[in-house]
C-alpha cells in the first residue's frame, strides 16, 4: 500500500503520518504515535474501549479510518488531564473507584466526557443509555453511573475538553 501523508491534531498537538490511509485511527494512535491509552477490545464497534473524541464527538477509533480524520482534532485519554489536574470525569472515576481492571476505563471516560458535553444534567436513565455502547467485563457499571453523576455535578465549572 502506497503511503499517503495525513495531518491532524492529537491532544492539541499537530501530527503528520505517512502511511496507508485505510488503517484505523486506533492502530495509528497505538502503533505510530505510541499513545497506548486507547484500547482495543473488539475492533468492530461493539465494546467502546477504543473511544476517542474527533472534533468533540465520540468515535470508535477501531472503526474510524485515518482518511476520515485528516484535518480533524482528536482527543484521547492522554489529553484529558491538564498537568497534575485530572479532568472532572477522571477525578470522579477515581473518587468513586469506578474501575477494576481498568481496561474499559479510557473508553468509558471518553464516552462520559462526550455525554456530559451534550447534556450537563443527565438522569441515571440517560447515563445508562448513553453509556450502553461501552462494555465493562469487571462489572463496574453501577459505579460508572455514580461517577458520571458526580462528574456532572463538578462539570459546570470545568472547562471544555481540550482539543
Amino acid at each position: 500500500m502506497q503511503g499517503v501523508e495525513a495531518k491532524f491534531t492529537v491532544n492539541g498537538k499537530p501530527v503528520s503520518v505517512t502511511t496507508d490511509p485505510n488503517r484505523s485511527v486506533l492502530e495509528i494512535l497505538r502503533e505510530d504515535l505510541q499513545l497506548t491509552g486507547t484500547k482495543y477490545g473488539c475492533g468492530e464497534g461493539a465494546c467502546g474501549a477504543c473511544t476517542v473524541l474527533v472534533d468533540g464527538k465520540p468515535k470508535f477509533s477501531c472503526s474510524t479510518l485515518l482518511s476520515e480524520v485528516v484535518g480533524k482534532k482528536i482527543v484521547s485519554i492522554e489529553g484529558l488531564a491538564s498537568g497534575e489536574t485530572l479532568h472532572p470525569v477522571q477525578q470522579a472515576f477515581l473518587d468513586e473507584g469506578a474501575y477494576q481492571c481498568g481496561y474499559c476505563t479510557a473508553g468509558m471516560i471518553m464516552g462520559a466526557v462526550a455525554l456530559l458535553e451534550k447534556n450537563r444534567k443527565p438522569s441515571d436513565e440517560q447515563i445508562a443509555r448513553g453509556m450502553n455502547g461501552h462494555i465493562c467485563r469487571c462489572g463496574t457499571y453501577s459505579k460508572i453511573v455514580a461517577a458520571v453523576r458526580k462528574a456532572a455535578e463538578a462539570m459546570p465549572q470545568a472547562t471544555e475538553a481540550k482539543s
Binding site: E27, T36, G37, I77, G97, G102, G139
Partner: protein, 702 residues
C-alpha cells in the same frame, strides 16, 4: 497470632554483595538483578511454606484443557519478600498478579499493616518471575487465604528486625536500617513473628483505592498489550479454519514479498512479523487464500448435551438409592444443562517477546500463572527456565481465563525467528475461538421426600464440568454426589467459580422444584434442611433485606416473580434473592433487583469486597440470560461481541450487597463464590412468575 515463619535470612544487596547471615539456600536468583531493579539496600527473605506447593495442582485440577501446569515443580525454600532501599523506599515482592480483582491494593495494605507504615510508603512489585517469589497462580480465591499470611509474616519480620535493631531509639527508620552496617544486623536475634491481630488493624479492613489507579485513569498504565520495545514488530498468526484442522499446503511467497514482512513457517505454525498490524493482517490474508487444510468432523453445539452424555466415561452412573425412590412418598428427577461460555476479558490475550544475544527471552504478557507460563515457554523452546523471564503488568481481566501462555509462546516464536521484539495481540475473534471455555455440563438430579416433605435421598451427577459445588449443603442421610468426565468437544479450563456455577444452578433450581412439590415456601424448605449456621445466616440476611416474606405474600403483577438461592464454596457463604419481570411481548426475563448477602470471614477490604460481589453478579447475568458458545463444523459461530452478548449498562438491575463481617474468623477469598447463586435465583424467580421450570442456561423462555 503466631505464624510458621521462623527463618529469616538477610542479604545486603550492595555492590559488594555482602552476606550478613550466610544461609544454605539456593536463592534461585541473582542479587545483581535486584540491585539493577531496586537499587542497593536490604533484602529480606522469608522462609515460608511454598504457596505454589500448597496449592493444589489446579483449580478443580482435573484434566483441564491447556497449559499443563501443575503446581510448582521446584520448591522455593526462601522467598525474597521485602526490599528496603537506602532511601527508605519499601518494595514488597509477590508472584501474584493484578487483573482487576484487587490483589494490588489488598497486598499493599497487608504489607503496610505489618510494617506499620502508611499504605503509600509501600510499592508492590508483582509477577516478575526474575524477582518475585512463586506465589502460584492468582485464581481460586486464594490470594487472601494464602498469599496474605506470607506477606504479612514477612513484613512483620522486617518490622521486628527494625525494632530490635534500634533498641528503643525511635528516631531510627527503615532507611537507617537499610544503611546500617552488616555487623550490627547480624547481632539481632531471630524470633517468632507476631502478626497484627484483627482488632488492631489500621490499614487492613479499610477501603483502599488501587495504588496505581491514577495511571489507569490517565492512560499512563501500560497493560501487556501496551508494551512497546525498541525495534518492535507486530505479529499475526495464520489460524486454522476449524478445530483440529491440519495444514497440508500453503504458499508464503506473496506474504514474503510484502515490504517489511517476515514469515515464520515451522510445521503447523505459520505467522508473520510486520512493521504494523495492518501489514501483518494483509500478509496473513495472502496466505489464507492459498492454504489447504485437512478438516476433521466436529460435533455441533446443537447436539452438545446428548454428545456429553453419550461420551460419559464409564457411562452415566445410576442412582444407588433407586429403592428409596420407588418407596418414597414423593420423588423428582430432572436434568439440567449448562453450555460452554467464555470469560471474555476486555483485554484479549497479548504478549511482547524479546530475545537477547545470550538466548534469554523476556515475555511481557497477561497471565494468572506467571511461573506456569515461564515453564510453558521453557518447554516449548527446550530451554532452561532460568533463561526465561515472564513479566505480568497489571492486565485487563482474567476471570480464570488466562492461566495459559499460548500467546506468549507464539510471540516468542516470532521474535526468535526475526531477532527483534514482537508484539502479538489476539483479536476478539481469536480470543473467542482459541482461548479456552468454561466446561459445559449435563447434571442429573434425583431426590426422594417423605410424607412430611423431608429429603430422604439425594442423587446428583455432574457430567463434564467437575466437582466444585457438587456437594449439597442440605441435610439428607443418603447422598450420592459425583462428577464424571466426558469427551469435551471444546478445549475447556478454569473460569471464575468453575463448576460451582453449574452445580449450584442445578442444585438450587432442583431444590426449588422439590419445595414446590411439597407445597412449601422455598425459603422455609431450605431452612428446614440447613444445619450450617453460616449458610443459614446469609440466607436469612438476604431474605430479610429483600423482604422475602412480604414479597411472597403480596398479590403481584402476573409478570413479576421472586426467587432465591444459597450456597457455600471455598470457605465463603452466599445467598441471593432476585426479582424478575417477564416482558410478554418479547418473551424474555429482565432482572429488576438482586439482593445478595455474603460472608467470607474477616473482611480485609470492604470496598473491594463490594466491587467483587457487584462484578460477580453482573458477570453472572450474562451466562444466566444470554451467553452460550454456538459452534458448527469446528467453528465458533458467534465469535464476536455483537453476537455473544455480554451484560451491558442497560441490563444492570438494582443490586444490593450485604456483607456479613466475621472478624472472629479467618478471611477466605471472595473472587468466585459471589457468582454462583445468581442464575438459580433468577431461574426460581422466572418459575415464580411463569410457573414454567427452565432447566438450561442461558434462561430462555422462548
Amino acid at each position: 497470632m503466631k505464624t510458621s515463619t521462623d527463618t529469616m535470612a538477610l542479604y545486603r544487596d550492595d555492590d559488594d554483595e555482602q552476606i550478613i547471615e550466610p544461609v544454605g539456600y539456593d536463592f534461585g536468583l541473582t542479587r545483581r538483578t535486584f540491585v539493577q531493579v531496586l537499587g542497593a539496600g536490604l533484602l529480606i527473605a522469608v522462609a515460608a511454606p511454598s504457596i505454589a506447593q500448597a496449592q493444589e495442582s489446579g483449580v478443580g485440577g482435573r484434566r483441564r484443557g491447556g497449559g499443563g501446569f501443575t503446581g510448582s515443580s521446584k520448591p522455593v525454600p526462601l522467598d525474597a519478600r521485602i526490599h528496603i532501599g537506602k532511601d527508605g523506599a519499601i518494595t514488597v515482592l509477590t508472584g501474584k498478579v493484578e487483573g482487576g480483582q484487587g490483589a494490588r491494593a489488598e497486598i499493599t495494605q497487608a504489607a503496610a499493616e505489618e510494617l506499620r507504615v502508611p499504605v503509600d510508603r509501600v510499592t508492590l512489585l508483582m509477577a516478575d518471575t526474575e524477582l518475585c517469589p512463586d506465589d502460584g497462580f492468582t485464581a481460586g480465591s486464594r490470594t487472601t487465604p494464602s498469599t496474605l499470611p506470607s506477606i504479612r509474616s514477612g513484613c512483620a519480620a522486617a518490622r521486628q528486625l527494625l525494632e530490635k535493631w534500634r533498641g528503643g531509639d525511635e528516631s531510627k527508620t527503615y532507611a537507617d536500617l537499610a544503611a546500617a552496617d552488616a555487623k550490627s544486623l547480624s547481632q539481632v536475634p531471630g524470633t517468632d513473628v507476631q502478626i497484627t491481630p484483627t482488632s488492631e488493624w489500621k490499614a487492613l479492613g479499610k477501603p483502599t483505592a488501587r495504588p496505581n489507579g491514577r495511571d489507569i485513569l490517565t492512560g499512563a498504565h501500560k497493560y501487556p498489550s501496551d508494551i512497546i520495545r525498541p525495534g518492535m514488530l507486530y505479529g499475526k498468526i495464520l489460524r486454522r479454519p476449524s478445530y483440529g484442522a491440519k495444514l497440508t499446503d500453503v504458499n508464503t511467497d506473496a506474504a514474503k514479498a510484502m515490504e517489511g514482512v517476515d514469515v515464520v513457517h515451522d510445521g503447523d505454525f505459520v505467522g508473520v512479523a510486520a512493521p504494523n498490524t495492518s501489514i501483518a493482517k494483509a500478509a496473513i490474508k495472502a496466505m489464507e487464500d492459498s492454504a489447504k487444510w485437512d478438516q476433521p468432523p466436529h460435533p455441533s453445539s446443537k447436539q452438545l448435551f446428548e454428545y456429553l452424555k453419550k461420551n460419559t466415561k464409564g457411562g452415566v452412573p445410576a442412582n444407588p438409592f433407586a429403592d428409596e425412590v420407588s418407596g418414597a412418598a414423593k420423588s423428582l428427577r430432572a436434568e439440567y444443562h449448562v453450555p460452554y461460555v467464555q470469560h471474555t476479558p476486555m483485554e484479549p490475550r497479548a504478549a511482547v517477546a524479546e530475545w537477547d544475544e545470550n538466548g534469554k527471552v523476556t515475555v511481557w504478557t497477561a497471565t494468572q500463572n506467571p511461573f506456569g507460563v515461564r515453564r510453558e515457554l521453557a518447554n516449548a523452546f527446550h530451554v532452561d527456565e532460568s533463561t526465561v523471564r515472564v513479566v505480568v503488568p497489571d492486565f485487563g481481566g482474567g476471570f480464570g481465563g488466562k492461566h495459559t501462555g499460548e500467546c506468549a509462546v507464539e510471540a516468542a516464536r516470532l521474535a526468535q525467528a526475526v531477532k527483534q521484539p514482537v508484539a502479538l495481540q489476539w483479536t476478539r475473534a481469536e480470543e473467542f475461538t482459541w482461548a479456552y471455555f468454561r466446561p459445559a455440563a449435563v447434571i442429573e438430579c434425583q431426590a426422594s421426600l417423605d410424607a412430611s416433605g423431608t429429603l430422604t435421598s439425594w442423587h446428583f451427577v455432574n457430567i463434564n464440568a467437575g466437582r466444585p459445588g457438587v456437594e449439597s449443603p442440605y441435610r439428607c442421610e443418603k447422598k450420592n454426589q459425583q462428577a464424571v468426565d466426558s469427551a469435551p468437544p471444546l478445549r475447556h479450563g478454569s473460569y471464575r467459580a468453575l463448576a460451582a456455577t453449574a452445580n449450584n444452578f442445578a442444585r438450587e433450581s432442583f431444590i426449588d422444584e422439590l419445595a414446590a412439590a411439597t407445597g412449601k415456601d422455598p425459603l422455609a424448605f431450605r431452612l428446614d434442611h440447613i444445619e450450617i449456621d453460616r449458610l443459614r445466616a446469609v440466607l436469612e440476611e438476604a431474605a430479610k433485606q429483600f423482604g422475602w416474606s412480604d414479597r411472597r405474600a403480596k398479590q403481584r403483577d402476573a409478570n413479576v416473580g421472586v426467587g432465591l438461592a444459597c450456597a457455600m464454596e471455598k470457605g465463603s457463604f452466599v445467598a441471593t434473592c432476585a426479582e424478575v419481570e417477564i416482558d410478554p411481548a418479547k418473551n424474555v426475563a429482565r432482572v429488576r433487583r438482586v439482593v445478595q448477602a455474603f460472608e467470607c470471614g474477616a473482611i480485609t477490604n470492604p470496598s473491594n469486597l463490594q466491587s467483587q460481589n457487584m462484578g460477580a453478579i453482573i458477570q453472572g447475568l450474562g451466562p444466566a440470560l444470554r451467553e452460550a458458545m454456538v459452534f458448527e463444523e469446528g467453528k465458533i459461530q458467534n465469535a464476536s461481541l455483537w453476537k455473544y452478548e455480554v451484560p451491558r449498562q442497560a441490563d444492570v438491575p438494582v443490586i444490593e450487597v450485604y456483607l456479613v463481617n466475621r472478624p472472629d474468623l479467618s478471611s477466605a477469598g471472595a473472587g468466585e463464590t459471589p457468582l454462583i447463586t445468581l442464575a438459580p435465583a433468577i431461574n426460581n424467580a422466572i418459575f415464580d412468575a411463569t410457573r414454567k421450570r427452565l432447566r438450561e442456561m442461558p434462561l430462555r423462555l422462548a
